[in-house]
Amino acid sequence: MDKTIASLREAVSGIEDGMTVMIGGFGGSGAPIELIHALIDRFVQTGHPTNLTVVNNNAGNGHVGLAGLIEQGMVSKLICSFPRSADPRVFTDLYLAGKIELELVPQGTLAERIRAGGAGIPAFYTPTGYGTDLAKGKPVEEFEGRPYIRERWLKADFALVKAHLGDTFGNLTFNKAARNFNPLMCMAAQTTIAQVSCIVRPGDIDPETVVSPGIFVQGLVEVAEPVQEETLNRANAVYPGVVQ
């Protein structure tokens, strides 16, 4: 078994119009920038995929990565907790123009919905959001005298994640706080593609340090020196080059 994929282009080739795609990261940390840019490249060349529902904590920053994907018009709906950033103009303009749908989810609920999706749990109760606008329409039940609201799982067709090491079985480690949503999204997607800094042989990762077991990962592509969104934004980068 070898889950290695030879190129970024091939790694994102299965994503089709209308799919739900989970994209890992918290801001730029743990964001699979190269995979996202490969998806943008495919769209620029072929006009597909489009009409995507994207699940991410944020809504992109500047004009690269997720913001670049949104700026291309490839995303029709975003499910996130915090669609603000240092430079949120790409999402903000489309949202205020009514051209992109937003499902706002409290951050811990977002994480748990994704975890539940990966764990085969269709719904769960949480105290988060009770009595607020974000609880409207959701069933309420009391447990031990406290009210909780019911939230549903989140699943996806694809997850694009960023990890540090990956062996050819798909076992992954992460770098510091770049872990964030990535291991949860690995579980919740039909197909998870991980970009990793280095692909190693089975056995090269100490089993005690594996964070995402390979059963949750279907494909790996090596990006030896991944760029950081923050670095691109500090250079005022735009992907792919000048847009419009």
């Binding site: 915090f82 950033s85 706002l104 409290p106 994480a111 009595g131 606008d133 510091k176 949860l184 964070v211």
Partner: protein, 222 residues
């Protein structure tokens, strides 16, 4: 009017954090609290994106962009740090494992309701982790100016802005006073000696109750 500056409010809040406490500080003003841990006490700071035990900001040019806090600012690590994914991070939050969460506020009501995530239907709504934090930490404290920039009360009878959580706040550190919420009442614990109770009441949107002595709110120039 004499009042505490934001750094001084943060200083006062820091004095109530016990040695060994696990603490989450909201983005912005609450982050200042970490600077003022009293000597001999060590709190462990939690950030939603998966770090327990982070430290101060690195020097410019030394940032590691995989090592950030919930405000997306670069941080450093203290000895004894742990990393974890987002589901574990919010298990710490909702599961009652954090000792204190300190948040900012637009409005706090006398029954403990908090509004701090939305100023109304205009613009792009964003909630982040605030709704989770208010229902998880053992103690939810707010640090805030006592009144808005326009001079309106932030401590109110009932919140008018969209709620973050219901009956969740237990203590409020303001630029003028320290107020606990007990049995759906504001209970005044400390106030600046330069302001009278009547003056403070006039700047507060619900009745201030006095139970026992009101201490002077004394904060150094920080």
């Amino acid at each position: 009017m004499n009042k505490l500056n934001p750094t001084q409010i943060a200083w006062r809040a820091a004095q109530d954090i016990a040695d060994g406490a696990y603490v989450n500080l909201g983005i912005g003003l609450p982050e200042l609290v970490a600077r003022f841990q009293p000597p001999g006490r060590q709190a462990i700071f939690h950030t939603e994106n998966g770090i327990l035990g982070f430290g101060e900001a690195p020097a410019a040019g030394q940032e590691d962009w995989d090592l950030i806090n919930a405000g997306k600012k670069a941080v450093t690590l203290n000895p004894g740090t742990a990393f974890f994914h987002h589901a574990d991070s919010f298990a710490m939050v909702r599961g009652g494992h954090l000792d204190v969460a300190i948040l900012g506020a637009y409005e706090v009501a006398e029954n403990g309701d908090l509004a701090n995530w939305s100023t109304g239907p205009k613009g792009v709504p964003a909630v982040g982790g605030a709704m989770d934090l208010v229902h998880g930490a053992k103690r939810v404290a707010v640090i805030t100016d006592h009144i808005t920039k326009d001079g309106n009360a932030k401590l109110v009878k009932r919140c008018t802005l969209p709620l973050t959580g219901v009956q969740c706040v237990t203590r409020i550190y303001t630029s003028l006073a320290l107020i606990d919420i007990e049995d759906a009442h504001f209970v005044l614990r400390e106030k600046l000696s330069s302001i009278s109770l009547d003056e403070l009441q006039a700047l507060t949107g619900a009745e201030l109750h006095v139970v026992g002595a009101v201490a002077d709110l004394i904060v150094p120039d920080v």
